[in-house]
Symmetry: D2
């Protein structure tokens, strides 16, 4: 299978927002590495922290649904050092938006996460309000082209 | 973003192997649904159970690494009813293979998982032994074309 | 430290209710055993399944709070075989009740869980309604004495 | 049921070691609170971080087994603020030792954890080496009496 992601996404300077996420002993799997699912938990936490810091007024935004969550694993991650998650908004649609995140540990990009999020009433997609769209715009990935 | 997966993958009859996975109260998130990461755990369990049942001699195969894990979420999943995970091998390379899985609950496909797995010595990719390749062949997705 | 639990609690015939709980690959820790916290998740699932099967009318009872959760680990537990959780009600108070559970795998008691649960309005304890008390009575541990 | 723990254990000044543990979105349960099992994961992480910082030479000590893990839940814990785990050694035996930990969030003690840990060769208990015993002594709870 050929690589399905743009390698430019592995460059930390592309990302406008950074969130540290601690690792936990419970993230380790029988190989002694951070389990791949634990990295999904770390990315989820970073996405939620971005939303709570920037998209809402401090209350939990329960109206965001995730419809696609793609993770590429690039290197082993370890305990107990933290992960540094870099976050950026990629494409912005009418009711959905794409985000990209990389997890960096000890200077190495250990994983890439691309996710599609949908603004919803909890059941179905809804057009994003304009202020939300503007806030997402402020955190676009710093690249000239659009994937 | 346009759909990046082949909709034919949502058809359960495509898959040669099925594994039931129970849900747990701990899989629920603040929305009262099975959390997206819990579905990743269920898919992981199904992949490992397939490997243990079919690829190894009963000992844990610690030489499989996951390098890509893509999940599309199609419907809400609930507790306490189980998930039925349908599993099939898609492409088979020299040291890596692609798998596809769908999680079905109460007759609804709730998620699609595509993953790339690599046969390794724990650190780097190794060519698959021929018997392993043949076993994977026996569990190919039942479709005429190859994606 | 001396043993703080009654060894009689390790006898499966004491328990009136049994719930199988599957193990998952994600339950394994770096030692290759089921992690102690994963056993806590299994016990939690068994307690909730008991409540949903016997105490409510099929809707999730969000009014039960756990105030004490004591687990004694007696033997290693493994993947992929299931756990068999045996459940019984110990003491019944005005708004709280004590439960005991053991996890049995391959004929061995691997853990004992004692928990104190409280009937509440979500914030504070409330007296249990009489029908609930009667249902709990029906699942008392089968022993003569009361701890 | 009467309280089974010494209320003096809820006093943070009793504890000689403190470890902050971040909360994660994935720790939330359907009630919107930090799940009781997630608190067990946080306590586990604190215990391991203590051991790695103080008992070993920087390598993961795989020879510690947990044989009892008792948690009392005293107040709700929330996301996204961190937990502050306070840690101390209580009794020290020949091959086992007892620890106590409290989780404090926003100034409130939300949970108490008492655990019994055993020094082992991975299968059975072994007497602790004297240097390990001395290090544990250095982190005893700061109280006059011994429970």
């Amino acid at each position: 299978m050929t690589k399905s992601y743009d390698p430019a996404l592995l460059e930390p300077t592309l990302y406008p927002f950074e969130i540290p996420v601690s690792t936990r002993f419970g993230d380790l799997d029988p190989n002694g590495h951070i389990n791949n699912v634990a990295l999904a938990v770390a990315f989820e936490d970073a996405r939620v922290r971005f939303s709570r810091a920037n998209l809402t007024d401090g209350v939990l935004d329960t109206r965001t649904m995730i419809v696609a969550n793609y993770i590429d694993y690039l290197a082993q991650a370890y305990y107990p050092q933290p992960l540094h998650i870099h976050f950026g908004v990629d494409e912005i649609g009418r009711s959905s938006w794409n985000v990209a995140l990389i997890a960096v540990q000890d200077g190495t990009v250990v994983a890439l996460n691309r996710a599609v999020l949908v603004h919803s009433d909890g059941q179905r997609a809804m057009p994003m309000p304009q202020p939300m769209r503007e806030k997402l715009q402020a955190f676009r990935l710093r690249r000239g082209d659009t994937r």
